[in-house]
């Protein structure tokens, strides 16, 4: 019943065409992704995207782990922005069980999510430039600059939760960690630092004619295509969709903060870059506001975890989603009253974003393939889940 893959793996495509495998191990595959390109000269005429190399069946895992255990695993779907997926899961559980979340916890979640967005965009900018500029060129320079700043944010997470990559910061009913003394001052200092460095990135890229010719008018996603495929986040906003879940469906006290949703209408790589660069600044602003208004009080409405089956969720189902760095990260949970979900569905933002690739690649040059891939910013942990 299972149909095997029917891809042509070797050989020339016939005529003047050339089949070229890009991936699964390729410098710019951002993980393990394979695009089987059919080329005519340097121009791509067809593409078959093969994913699944990083598949860990998170949805099955979610059905075998309890509501207490899973948030720490959820961070492994999108390991570049781990806070986001934890939050999506926890929100889904809270929505079904109607758990209250204290205000302090909600603010802490906002701070964590926005810092995570900054860190994730830092990585995106660096890797994308490396895709375009090569590991032995200006791209690597931008990459190392942005990684330098991302490390600063990760230092903050490290002193908050003790981990740099997979945090386990959220738990059902609140957060697991309160901020350590002196943390807010450190956050402010880091944000000032990053805000100032953003100008440097822009000086490196935005005026740069080499950068502009590589990104403008390349990989255009139309507004309709973006919606049909389910593209969300900076990609959708780059295509002119005024769609941000933080505004459209405020969760976790996002309604308390003033911020702007950047929208660009061109839909090309450069538009996505512009959107993300503005998001950097907006996130910095949100974190500052949240730190200034951080209320006192408990960080969790429920007692700290003491046993594995502590959280029980009544029968029901719910879909909750958060605006992650890459777009709509959703978690659909069907609960049957036991300590484990009956069915859990991850809606990975990168999965839907990447699905647009076969629609926009034909007609591009080989060099554009990597630029477009990078501007989509897929994280393969989230694509394959």
């Amino acid at each position: 019943m299972a149909v095997a893959r029917t891809t042509v793996e070797v050989g020339y495509g016939g005529g003047e065409r050339l089949m070229m495998n890009m991936g699964p191990q390729h410098p710019s595959s951002h993980g393990v992704f394979r695009a089987i390109l059919t080329l005519e000269g340097e121009t791509v005429v067809a593409v078959d995207a093969v994913i699944g190399y990083l598949h860990r069946c998170h949805e099955k895992l979610g059905e075998t782990l309890t509501y207490v255990q899973y948030p720490t695993i959820a961070s492994k779907t999108d390991y570049v922005a781990a806070m986001t997926s934890e939050l999506a899961y926890v929100l889904a559980v809270e929505k079904i069980a109607k758990f209250e979340v204290p205000k302090r916890a909600r603010y802490l979640r906002v701070i964590a999510a926005e810092l995570q967005r900054i860190a994730s965009h830092c990585l995106w900018l660096g890797t994308w430039c490396m895709d375009m500029g090569g590991a032995l060129g200006g791209g690597a320079t931008v990459f190392l600059y942005t990684i330098r700043e991302r490390e600063d944010v990760l230092d903050l997470f490290e002193s908050l939760t003790g981990a740099r990559l997979l945090y386990g910061f959220h738990q059902v009913g609140g957060t697991r960690y309160d901020i350590p003394p002196g943390w807010d001052a450190k956050v402010r200092a880091t944000l000032d630092h990053i805000e100032q460095r953003l100008h440097e990135y822009e000086a490196m890229l935005e005026d740069n004619a080499f950068f502009l010719v590589r990104t403008q008018g390349v990989g255009t996603i139309s507004q309709t295509l973006a919606q049909e495929v389910g593209v969300s986040g900076p990609l959708a906003r780059g295509s002119g969709l005024q769609w941000d879940l933080r505004k459209a469906e405020p969760y976790s006290s996002y309604e308390d903060f003033e911020f702007r949703i950047p929208v660009e209408t061109a839909g090309d790589c450069f538009a996505r870059y512009r959107v993300r660069m503005v998001e950097f600044r907006e996130s910095i602003k949100i974190v500052r506001d949240a730190l200034a208004g951080l209320p006192d009080g408990p960080i969790s409405s429920r007692p700290g975890v003491k046993s594995v089956g502590q959280v029980r969720v009544p029968k029901g189902e719910g879909y909750s989603r958060v605006e992650g760095a890459r777009g709509e990260v959703g978690c659909y949970i069907v609960a049957d009253g036991s300590p484990k979900p009956y069915r859990m569905k991850w809606r990975g933002a990168s999965f839907s974003n990447l699905a647009v690739l076969p629609h926009i690649l034909p007609g591009c040059k080989v060099a554009d393939v990597v630029a477009i891939m990078g501007s989509i910013d897929p994280v393969f942990g989230e694509v394959d889940r």
């Binding site: 299972a2 699944g52 593209v231 709509e328 959703g330 809606r347 839907s352």
Partner: protein, 152 residues
Amino acid sequence: MSLAPAAAADLIRQTFGIEPRVEDRLVTVPLAREQWPDFGRFARETLGCLYLNFLSAIDWKAEGIEVICRVENLATGVAVMMRTKLGAGELRCPTLVDVWAGANWMEREAFDMFGLTFDGHPDLRRLLLGDNWELGPPLRKDFVDSGHVPYR
């Protein structure tokens, strides 16, 4: 197309004779399998739900598999959750690829994870599992995993 959730529910009631459940902005519509593609087209064209959230399935053990699909109208915020129970042992469902392009990968994933066949899908191949996977669709409830084998 600007329809409030209640108005959308009325329209669905008139057109398809189904009683949808309205919950905040979400309209949940239980469908028969035959109505699946027609309703998809209706949701897209009449309700303006251009945006595809996700398409997946739930295994209800004895009752069979239920296919779910959530779509949304970004302008009005109306979201429609389409669901159809295929019935026990039934594994075929009409495709939605011609309605939403994004359903392509989603249906391939459901094919992979539940063994569902989507009639009319142009390219129904495995998406996530390896070519050599032989243990059956993993998200079915009758799937038995191998358990944890510690390294010794």
